[in-house]
């Protein structure tokens, strides 16, 4: 029953898994059995919506993040992609605990920090740092670069005062800035250099996890590559894990060996790079990928045939019933409105939440999930079926999965 043919591409990468620095590799490859440093389990964040009446009741909730589970392994990167409003930035802010989640667990090195108070969070702030999108607004214009980067050292009383400056200069050198410029102010630097300052500040406390929220999208194209390369070097040198949040699918593919695709607060597909970019089984992932304009098509001429999604993302206050993507989905059927598809593992490192998972143009005609949910093909309760009980989403991957190609159970 053992399935040998899944993810052929992954075999090479396993051997090449870099522990030490490998020239040119950057964060491209995931170490095989790295321990998860971060484990997010059924994370939820609901923002209340108040009624406008005399008495302001909570009339609804923005389900910004609704039951998201994933793992980030040590010294590797998980990419979080999706369109605006999908909850990817909220997820990042939850993990850095800028927000307190409504429910769910955030286990950092095994310790659940989801509901931790300020005192418990203080040591954690050293371990998890954030890099922001906008290098113009995230730096205090009245502070010198030296004091911006050195502030965490002073706040956490890690180094005596006279040791801070050498450390700041060392950090400036790491991010490729002139260490003599510690006395300058943020406005004296260009956009790309400011993002380097932001990165240096995040590195000051030698964190184990960096949450990078759109770290390059505000930068010019020629500068984006500089910053991406810098982040890869940092990962190789210091073994930092990344939660890399971006809307640019090509950059995420380049940076992250594992990717989660989010839509309206939920993960619709998660897997390693080859599964997501080469073997996507969710119609939303397929649509996203086909929507990316590609330079190479100039060589062939004309535009590629793409899946055209109609309309816009629905409001997260009142998301569609069942599968949230069904209102824009080209292959949606009745069951999709009735039941939310469970996130099924369909490969060694590949999970998808769709009733009709399949490669582009090869989606099954019958819902794959009907039996598991105990319903018939239209989603009506089937008295004869026994719904599966273990559909609760786990962070990480199981050793067995549904092999869709061979209609069998795959095993690692």
């Amino acid at each position: 029953m053992t399935n040998e043919t899944i993810n052929p591409g992954n075999q090479d990468s396993e051997e090449a898994a870099p522990v030490a620095h490998v020239e040119g590799h950057g964060a491209a490859v995931a170490p095989v059995d790295a321990k998860p440093i971060l484990e997010v389990d059924q994370l939820r964040m609901y923002f209340p919506v108040k009624s406008p009446g005399l008495i302001r009741r909570t009339v609804g909730q923005v389900q910004a993040v609704d039951g998201v589970s994933f793992q980030v392994a040590e010294a590797t990167s998980l990419g979080l992609v999706g369109e605006s409003g999908c909850g990817k930035s909220t997820t990042g802010r939850l993990i850095t605990r800028l927000y307190k989640p409504t429910a769910g667990a955030i286990r950092f090195e095994g310790q659940d920090i989801a509901q931790a108070g300020p005192a418990e969070l203080k040591p954690l702030r050293r371990e998890i740092q954030m890099i922001f999108q906008d290098p113009y607004t995230s730096l205090n214009p009245r502070q010198t670069v030296g004091s911006i980067i050195g502030a965490p050292l002073a706040i956490h009383k890690i180094l005596p005062k006279d040791k801070i400056l050498p450390r700041v200069q060392e950090l400036l050198e790491v991010v490729g800035l002139n260490p003599e410029h510690y006395n300058r102010y943020p406005h004296e630097f260009s956009g790309g250099q400011r993002q380097r300052i932001g990165i240096a500040r995040a590195l000051t406390l030698q964190p184990k996890l960096l949450v990078a929220d759109e770290p390059v999208s505000a930068l010019d194209v020629s500068i984006q590559a500089q910053v991406i390369n810098l982040l890869q070097d940092i990962q190789n040198e210091f073994g930092v894990a990344f939660l890399f949040i971006a809307h640019d699918l090509a950059i995420v593919r380049h940076f992250c060996p594992e990717i989660a695709v989010m839509y309206l607060g939920k993960i619709v597909e998660i897997g390693d790079r080859d599964s997501i970019y080469g073997n996507a089984h969710h119609p939303y992932t397929q649509a996203l990928l086909s929507a990316v304009p590609d330079v190479k098509q100039a060589a062939t001429g004309g535009r590629i045939e793409r899946i055209r999604l109609q309309g816009d993302v629905p409001s997260p206050i009142d998301p569609p019933s069942g599968c949230r993507f069904r209102t824009r989905c080209p292959i949606a059927q009745e069951i999709c409105a009735r039941h939310e598809p469970p996130l099924l593992q369909i490969g060694r490192k590949h999970k998808v939440a769709c009733h009709f998972p399949g490669r582009l143009g090869q989606a099954p005609h019958e819902p794959l999930t009907a039996g598991l949910l105990g319903v018939d093909a239209e989603g009506r309760p089937d008295p004869g079926a026994s719904p599966s009980t273990d559909l609760i989403e786990q962070p990480g991957y199981a050793d067995t999965w549904f092999d869709l190609d061979n209609k069998s159970i795959g095993r690692a």
Binding site: K50, P52, L54
Partner: protein, 338 residues
Amino acid sequence: MLAYVIRRLFAGVIMLIVMSIVTFALFFASPIDQASFICGKNCSAAQKKQTAAAMGYDDSFANQWADFAKGVVQGRDYPDDPKLRETAPETIVHCEAPCLGYSRERGDTVTNLIKDTFPVSFSLAVSAFILWMVGGVLLGVTAALKKGSIIDRGLVGLSLIAYAFPTFFVGLVLYKFVAIKWGLTEIPRYTSIAEGGVGGWLSSLTLPAITLALFFMAAYVRMTRSYVIESFQEDYVRTARSKGLPERTVTYKHALRAALTPIVTMAGLDFAGLMGGAIITESVFNYPGMGKLAVRASSDFDLPTTVGLVILLATFVILANIIVDLLYAVIDPRVRLG
């Protein structure tokens, strides 16, 4: 909309109650003993006690405040003494609801005091408001449209000078020179419409209104100028131009409308603040307005008058806030009340 107004009014009433309590508490905490202050220097202990009892100062803080609140709702008698009501009813002053108290120093109910002084302050505030809004906004828009020209620099310079001169000085100069030395106007003395008709009322307001308006006008010229200049940088102004709209339409329909919205907010609040009286202007011109009343009340430790004025002024500010917010919602479709 209605629910919003009701909620805001409700919140406003609560705020007024809190403010009256705070004002009471401050007077209670003050080191000056009210009774001996009123009773005078050569006051025996017994006399003092009697005064305190008559004034109600021997009562607890809570009771005094409760009496005050009752007066606002129901009206009150001063002194509230059943015996006296039978023996000498003519010495009792009845203060009708909403009664803000009775000022012993001035021998009148606070409501009456305010009734006398309010028209003066209101006339002054309204006339100054019209002057500064018309002048400030027009000149500010002019300066912005001619940005960088001599007119612009002149206006900015003048407004800086006007802004820098203290009000009492401007008032004095106008009073001593324009009215007295050159005799260009009559010597200002407040004249109500009943006394002097609309013409007399207006001419009596000219100099103090200019005095009061000048400072605000200077501020509004600068503020309007910067808002208008800023709004010409907006993307939607560029869009309006790229549609081929005439510059006139771009300016008036697109740029100015957005630029003047924040000025509505400022103006509403500034006006409400002035309703409580322009202390310096009223003093310089010796106009019997609420500002002068407030100064005297606080230096005399006249608690009822002070509380009454505080409440009234706060009411104006709260109402102005609500009106400004409603106006904003009318002007800007993005604003949702709630």
